[in-house]
Amino acid sequence: MLKKYISIMRGAALAALMLLCGASLPAQTTASGVINGSLNNTTGISIQFDSDPAGVTLGAAGTNAATANFGTVSAFGPLAAGVTRPSVTAANFTVRTIFDVQVIQGGLNSTTYTLTANLAAAAPTGMSYKVDAITLTTALQTIQVNGAYGTDIAHNLDLVILTAAPGAGGPAVNTPITTTINFTATAN
């Protein structure tokens, strides 16, 4: 009786094995899987400076650390391409270039941003700096309160230079004068 039972079980096991083999054959032509992916969608904004067609060509354009070189400037002499001289008075003259700021945001409900700027250090003797007619100091100044994201926005950069001679209140001459302007864009 036991032998018969064992024999039946062996047969059943063999049949089950053959069924499994048969079932596995079609499964070899398809495969499926599941990947459980995850990410943290962090919100944020970025700022970059771009050359404006009407201004000087920026160094490191497209980054957040660009340079703008006015070249040689004077009250009456020739100016570099992209530099204009909107005014000359007895006391000072102004040279201007135009640069673009582009701010991009992701994941925010904000539709506009506020742009502020300040000088990294006090302006050199005889020089003052304006962005969109706002005179910059080392304290933050608001340049724009409703900047649109994702597009180049042109800004005037003015250098107001005293006409006095060096040592008499005017700037140093025949030597590059460099100043850094810090910009901050804040999502509204």
């Binding site: 700096y129 004068i177 910009f183």
Partner: protein, 177 residues
């Protein structure tokens, strides 16, 4: 256990708060460079005692029109005339204004030269004869930022036919000393 839970929640809130601030601002720097050089500028102005400049007063390209002139006939106000046995001279005061910027220069030298030759008439500026052959020095110690009168004079021979147009260009050059 309760304190640990509270601290954990507090720390989490702090992290969320700081992250939110950092995420909504972006900063950049624009480094600006310029090299200032000294410069001077020259303009012509009408002198109160002379003819008014016909055009270009306050610029460096002006026009002085004497109009009709003769040795003995009527003459316009602002023109000074002198006559000799063979010619007559008409003169008008003209102001030259030279300004300087970003310069320690104490004064300037002013020179003038005719644009084209004139074999018939004689031209003087500030009492100095000017031709097209070379620059003539009008002053070597010009004062900045002050109108300086350098009269323009033309001496015309009596042999010149009536109705003759006399025209020339005088090129001025101011150089900082």
């Amino acid at each position: 256990m309760k304190k640990v839970l509270l601290l954990t929640i507090f720390a989490a809130l702090m992290m969320i708060s700081s992250a939110a601030v950092a995420q909504t601002t972006a900063s950049g720097t624009l480094t600006v460079t310029a090299t200032v050089t000294g410069s001077i500028n020259l303009v012509f102005n009408s002198d109160a005692s002379g003819l008014a400049l016909s055009s270009g007063a306050g610029t460096n390209a002006a026009t002085l029109a004497f109009g009709n002139v003769s040795a003995f006939g009527a003459i316009s106000a602002g023109i000074v005339r002198s006559t000799t046995a063979t010619n007559f001279t008409v003169s008008s005061a003209v102001d030259v204004l030279v300004t300087k910027t970003n310069s320690a220069s104490a004064n300037y030298t002013l020179k003038a030269q005719l644009g084209s030759a004139d074999a018939v008439n004689t031209w003087t500026v500030g009492g100095v004869a000017v031709t097209n052959a070379a620059q003539s020095t009008l002053t070597a110690t010009g004062t900045y930022a002050a109108n300086s009168n350098f009269p323009v004079a033309i001496t015309v021979p009596f042999t010149t036919a009536s109705g003759t147009l006399i025209s020339n260009t005088i090129n001025y050059v101011a150089t900082a000393n």
